[in-house]
């Protein structure tokens, strides 16, 4: 046989790798990874950059009110529904995923001051400037009955309203705090302490008989619904606009203050706030806890929405848009994923609670990757290069300048105090905690 020469090639050279060719790489010891830290560091850097790239928190705006939106009310059972009350007395029920209104009701003359839904989600109450409390029925699709089921005529303007977490009881505030049974036309109990007029009242979600309220005389009041007398009053330097109880801790609440700070209190020790949350540059109008109790959101007159970790003094996130005006009300959705804000320019906005989070179902691999990058961020978060990227936010000029000014003012006052201390007798100018400085006192 003659020898035939054939052109022959190695299949490895021209065949593509298939999934069957992917071999399991045996895990090697750490000695074989001389650059392991460096690799993880770079991964962190990339993760942080990606985080900033994907940080697109704004989901949409709900347009439909004809006046500034004053109140927001979460639906107790449906995550898709939201109730909002405007300054012209109109109440709208929204379908959030569709971004449409399901029902519109002219509920009050003048402002709608407060709204709260029954835990069943079948009806809700509203109060307004017209000194009435109205009960409205609402179905699962968010259709509000045309006429109120029940109307209570009060003697004074009710400035806020909240519903009990378990029982058929609601509470209103005005010149005094009234606790109402749904079936009665007279309040079950009325609390008053001096001549203050209370503008905000909230039920404790954990110990449901507890009430927190904010009054005009710059005080935060605590009530026990079961008793006849209020519990305690704590007075700050400026007025508290709203309070929110931590849903995971029975005794912790956060107050939104007129001075642009938020104060977290342990109600068992009111001599000093647990924490002071600084970053807003103007009055904070509303605060709401995440249902996980780890964070809360606040909005205020500086047109910013900020998210604070409970145990941190500064916000981890700031949301704003060019058109958003003063924020009157903010709410954290019950699944802890979204934030809803209502502002003066008649719009309701939806935001993601975590700006860079991917919405929807994640593949396990994706989830692991996300978790890995989060773990890395936590691990290397203190490194300057990473920290810089992670903390970088654009804020409007007025906020930027105000923050700068705030910083300068603080520094100046610190300096002044130091000098004062240096030139006076030892001990005559004591060191006082910044948190303590904001307090006027605790009243028994």
């Amino acid at each position: 046989m003659p020898k035939i020469k054939v052109l022959c090639r190695n299949p490895d050279d021209y065949l593509r790798e298939t999934k069957n060719d992917i071999h399991k790489v045996p895990r090697s010891s750490s000695a074989q990874h001389p650059f392991k830290e460096q690799r993880e560091y770079v991964r962190t850097l990339n993760a942080v950059k990606l985080e900033r790239t994907f940080a697109k928190p704004f989901l949409g705006a709900l347009d439909g009110h004809r006046d500034g939106v004053n109140v927001l009310c979460k639906h107790p059972t449906s995550l898709a529904l939201l109730l909002s009350g405007a300054c012209d007395g109109e109440i709208i029920c929204w379908n959030l995923p569709r971004q449409t209104s399901t029902a519109k009701v002219q509920a009050h003359e003048g402002f709608v001051h407060g709204m709260a839904a029954h835990k069943s989600g079948q009806y809700f109450f509203s109060c307004g400037n017209d000194k009435t409390i109205k009960q409205w029925s609402i179905d699962a699709q968010g259709i509000i009955g045309g006429e109120p089921v029940n109307t209570l005529l009060g003697k004074c303007i009710y400035t806020s309203l909240d519903h009990h977490w378990k029982d058929d009881i609601f509470v209103t505030s005005g010149s005094r705090v009234d606790v109402w049974d749904e079936r009665r036309s007279e309040p079950l109990r009325s609390f008053s302490w001096g001549v203050e007029s209370v503008h905000h009242v909230k039920f404790n979600p954990v110990e449901t008989y507890l009430l927190g309220a904010a009054a005009h005389d710059r005080s935060i009041l605590l009530y026990d619904m079961r008793g006849s007398a209020p519990l305690r009053k704590v007075i700050l330097k400026l007025r508290t606009n709203a309070i929110s109880w931590n849903p995971m801790e029975a005794f912790t609440f956060t107050s939104a203050n007129e001075d642009g700070n938020l104060y977290t209190f342990d109600m068992r020790n009111l001599s000093m706030p647990l924490n002071m949350h600084i970053d807003h540059t103007a009055a904070v109008m509303d605060v709401d806890y995440s249902p996980t109790g780890r964070e809360f959101v606040s909005g205020g007159f500086d047109k910013m929405i900020r998210i604070f970790p409970v145990d941190k003094g500064h916000s981890r996130e700031v949301y704003h848009t060019k058109r958003m005006q003063r924020v009157g009300s903010v709410r954290w959705s019950r699944d802890s994923k979204y934030i809803i804000s209502a502002s003066d320019e008649m719009n309701i906005r939806m935001w993601k609670a975590v700006a860079w989070e991917k919405l929807g179902k994640l593949a396990p691999r994706e989830k692991a990757a996300m978790n890995y990058s989060e773990a890395l961020k936590k691990r290397y978060g203190a490194f300057p290069a990473i920290r810089r990227i992670q903390r970088h936010r654009h804020v409007p000029k007025h906020v930027f300048n105000a923050l700068k000014q705030q910083h300068e003012t603080q520094e100046a006052s610190k300096r002044r105090e130091e000098r004062k201390r240096a030139h006076s007798r030892q001990g005559s100018v004591p060191y006082v905690s910044v948190k303590k400085k904001q307090m006027v006192g605790e009243v028994e």
């Binding site: 895990r27 750490s30 392991k36 830290e37 690799r39 993880e40 006046d67 500034g68 300054c87 003048g110 402002f111 400037n129 003697k155 004074c156 303007i157 010149s175 008053s192 001549v195 007029s197 503008h199 979600p205 954990v206 110990e207 605590l222 026990d224 008793g227 006849s228 007398a229 209020p230 519990l231 305690r232 606009n241 849903p247 995971m248 801790e249 029975a250 005794f251 912790t252 068992r268 249902p291 996980t292 007159f301 003063r326 019950r334 699944d335 802890s336 994923k337 003066d344 692991a368 978790n371 890995y372 989060e374 773990a375 691990r379 290397y380 203190a382 490194f383 300057p384 290069a385 028994e444």
Partner: protein, 862 residues
């Protein structure tokens, strides 16, 4: 809407209030506002005037907030001027005879009724109510504390908190027999006694449980007994150790130390046999440590501690002692190991004059001075007859010498002479004291034994000489062998001798004074003068070496100081008698003991030294570092090794070598103990400079700088690529010319340290990394080490196992399902603490699952 926008300038609630403005409740308010504002200062003035009489009046109040209520603080408090008293009203009753009934009633009222307290005012009452309510609530809320803290600390929280759990429980509960076999078995099972049957929801039969209970109790008892026993043992052991740690006895400590040393020696000997390399390592290690210490010069005495101690030492004997120790330590460490002389003895002989010459030249150099031991040996060898020739001049010299010696320590000593006197007095007066101090004495004798050992050269020199010298060597070797035992045994003898001395001290003479010279001084005088008679003296001393003489010599030395003081007063006759006494005592002592005796007497060398030794010996021995002890041990062993190896080779040199070993060991001993003679700071400074005389530091530095420049500077770049501009391939050698053309020469760099000769400024600094570097250690870490160890363990999938990776990346909060409402925490959490799980028990029927699975199968088929 417009109104609302305008009003939006105000905070929300005020907006609401302003918008209200329909004034139903307080119609007058709005009208009066303007006037009120005007009237306010006026009203305030009126208030001030009206309150001048001290009574509180109704103040002018301006109501700013709407409401029906009126402030409780605005009301007038009425002051009661005149109080009507009971007696005033009823006073007239006494006078009238009527109203007897009323009088009786009144009487009973006065005697029996308890007066009820006036009820508290409303605001106080409310306040009490409030505080009581608050305290109660606070107490109630505290039940949440453990849950809240647990949740805050929790590594991971899953939301919603109510998580269903899937738990299997016993399957037999719902078992129903269906088949015939099953029924049969069931019938059989039914016969089983109830105590052998597993009850519902349990894992064991009652009998089994009972058994287990019994077992566990027994076991528990056993275990308990065991534990008790262990604890008792532990306790006794611990207390014993504690007690041992607190022992202050010097003897005990010394014994312990010796034990340690012996142990070490033994170890080393063993090592020498088994693993010579390890031994060498060990030796090298010791040598290295010593060198390090030497380089560091930490014990120099110029430190902060020394300076401070200087101030306080005047009042604090301990401080002084510490300084002493430090200096001695320094000296020990700084001492250069003398080269062991090689075999030839002639060299050794020649060394003696060399050493003496060196002492003349470097009289101030510590390192160049002969060791005390060598001096001692010299002095020992001298003859008393020669000594007697000396007179008062020598004494003066001696004084000077001593003054020199003490120069450095002068500042530490309070009043040395006084102290010495005290010491002497102690020695003289208290025989008991002497007994009590026998520990010290034995120590002293030990030291003395060391002192008496001649330095190497001396021994070498002597070894060549006549029988007498050999004899002494023999004695020495014996001594070193029996040292430990003998010292202890001889303490009593020593005591006696000391007592004798004390007696004899009182009877000293001028003639004896001549003999009481410090070893050092004698040597220096010998060297300085280099007079022939004194040279002769040395020679004669060597040839004439007489034990008795030596003994006497030493004795006299001890008394030198004392006699110095007494020299003017004491008579010659008494001195002679004293001398006689010594001569009597000397022959009584047996030959073996002689050298030792001599050494014990030598203990009474200059009082200063002795006194210092008293305090420092023990402490110094205690403070001796591991290095020194190890060193000693090593040296001993090495010597031993050498001798053993040499034995076979050269039996002639055998004895001398052995001697060497032993003497060397002793010299090290003496160095640690006797070299406490301080010198002036100036001396030390000078000597340091000389010590580093050999090192050419400057040249080294220049070399280093050049190296750094070379390293950091630009290097020539080879840009040559074969094949560019010419052919390339196998067998083609690219031309050198072309290659040269492509080499880019490095440009000379302008370094910052070019003009500064004595500095190296590194040009290596890379600022690119700076932005990635931390200023301080971030929060959870406390030390850099912590952080590094944590970060060095990467969490990624590539570096760890999959399970570990999953553990590593566990997020802190997890929301389990999208679109699920998370309810606030409730009382159920209190029962379980932290995260609560709802137990959803899945009952598994023996049949049902099979049925369902069958169904499923069917469905799958269709």
């Amino acid at each position: 809407m417009v109104g609302a926008i305008l009003l939006s300038e105000l905070p929300l609630c005020e907006r609401g209030l302003a918008a209200e403005a329909d004034d139903e409740e307080i119609p007058s308010d709005d009208e009066d506002v303007a006037q009120d504002v005007e009237d306010r200062p006026h009203a305030r003035l009126l208030d001030a005037i009206s309150s001048m009489d001290g009574n509180k009046r109704l103040k002018h109040t301006l109501r700013t907030i709407h409401g029906q209520n009126v402030s409780e603080f605005g009301f007038k408090t009425q002051k009661v001027d005149a109080q009507t008293l009971m007696s005033e009203m009823m006073g007239s009753l006494h006078k009238s005879s009527s109203h007897s009934e009323l009088k009786k009633q009144l009487k009973s009222v006065y005697t029996t009724t308890e007066v009820v307290d006036t009820p508290a005012p409303k605001h106080i009452k409310e306040k009490i109510q409030r505080s009581v309510g608050y305290e109660k609530t606070v107490k109630e809320l505290s039940k949440w504390d453990p849950v809240v803290t647990a949740n805050r600390k929790a590594e991971q929280m899953k939301f919603p908190l109510e998580q269903p759990t899937q738990k299997l429980i016993n399957t037999h509960i719902t078992f129903r027999p269906i088949t015939a076999l099953e029924k049969e078995i069931q019938a059989e099972l039914a016969k089983i006694k109830p105590e052998n049957r597993i009850p519902k929801g349990k894992l064991f039969t009652p009998a089994e449980e009972e058994e287990m209970k019994a077992m566990s109790l027994e076991e528990a008892r056993e275990r308990r007994a065991e534990l008790m026993k262990m604890r008792a043992i532990m306790y006794t052991k611990a207390s014993k150790l504690r007690w041992q740690n607190k022992i202050k006895s010097k003897r005990y400590r010394r014994g312990k130390k010796k034990e340690k040393l012996k142990q070490m020696e033994k170890e080393l000997e063993e090592l020498a046999v088994t693993d010579p390399e390890a031994l060498m390592d060990r030796m090298n290690e010791v040598e290295r440590k010593r060198l390090e210490e030497r380089g560091r010069l930490r014990h120099m005495g110029g430190g902060k501690f020394a300076r401070q101690a200087k101030v306080f030492s005047k009042y604090d004997n301990e401080k002084r002692q510490q300084i002493q120790d430090m200096l001695s330590k320094h000296k020990e460490l700084v001492k250069k190991h003398r080269q062991l002389p090689s075999s030839s003895e002639s060299e050794d002989e020649a060394e003696i004059p060399n050493v003496t010459a060196a002492t003349t030249v470097h009289s101030k150099n510590v390192w160049m001075q002969p060791t005390v031991s060598s001096l001692a040996s010299l002095s020992v060898s001298q003859n008393t007859s020669a000594v007697e020739v000396r007179d008062d001049e020598d004494e003066e010299e001696e004084d000077e010498e001593e003054a020199k010696e003490r120069k450095f320590l002068a500042s530490f000593d309070v009043d040395e002479t006084d102290d010495e006197d005290d010491d002497e007095d102690d020695d003289e007066d208290d025989g008991e004291d002497v007994e009590g101090d026998d520990v010290e004495k034995s120590e002293r004798s030990e030291e003395i034994a060391a002192v008496s050992a001649p330095p190497l050269q001396q021994v070498e020199a002597q070894s060549v000489q006549e029988d007498e010298t050999q004899k002494t060597v023999e004695i020495e070797s014996k001594k070193s062998g029996k040292k430990g035992r003998k010292q202890r045994g001889s303490t009593h003898e020593e005591e006696k001798r000391v007592a004798e001395e004390n007696e004899s001290k009182k009877m000293e003479t001028n003639s004896q004074k001549a003999g009481k010279k410090s070893k050092k001084q004698r040597v220096s005088t010998v060297v300085d003068s280099t007079a022939p008679p004194e040279d002769e003296e040395v020679e004669t001393s060597q040839s004439q070496e007489n034990d008795a003489d030596e003994f006497e010599e030493v004795q006299t030395k001890k008394k030198k100081k004392k006699s110095k003081k007494q020299k003017d007063t004491t008579a010659q006759e008494t001195a002679q008698s004293g001398q006689e006494k010594h001569e009597i005592t000397a022959p009584v002592i047996s030959d073996q003991e002689k050298p030792e005796l001599g050494t014990t007497k030598e203990a009474a060398k200059p009082k200063k030294n002795r006194k210092r030794g008293k305090k420092s010996k023990n402490s110094s021995s205690a403070t001796e570092t591991a290095i020194s002890t190890e060193e000693k041990a090593l040296m001993a062993v090495v010597k031993g090794l050498q001798t053993t190896t040499n034995e076979n080779e050269n039996p002639n040199t055998n004895t001398s070598k052995a001697k060497k070993g032993k003497t060397n060991k002793k010299t090290t001993d003496t160095n640690t103990k006797t070299d406490k003679i301080p010198e002036t700071p100036a001396d030390t400074l000078m000597t340091i400079a000389e010590a580093f005389d050999d090192d050419d530091v400057v040249a080294e530095f220049v070399e280093e700088k050049r190296r750094v420049e070379e390293e950091e500077g630009e290097k020539d770049k080879d840009l040559f690529v074969p094949g560019w501009g010419s052919w390339a391939g196998a067998g083609i050698v690219p031309s050198n010319k072309l290659r040269k053309r492509f080499i880019k020469k490095a440009q000379p760099q302008a370094r910052t340290d070019n003009k500064i000769g004595h500095v190296i400024i590194s040009e290596k600094k890379n600022t690119a990394v700076e932005k990635h570097m931390l200023d301080k250690i971030p929060y959870p870490y406390k030390t850099l080490d912590q952080m590094q160890t944590t970060l060095s363990k990467p969490i990624g999938r590539d570096f760890t196992s999959e399970t570990q990776f999953r553990k590593n990346i566990k997020p802190k909060t997890v929301v389990n399902r999208i679109g699920q409402v998370i309810q606030p925490i409730d009382d159920r959490a209190l029962l379980h603490g932290g995260q609560k799980r709802k137990a959803v028990d899945i009952e598994l029927n023996t049949k049902k699952p099979t049925e369902t699975s069958a169904k499923r199968k069917k469905k799958g088929k269709h």
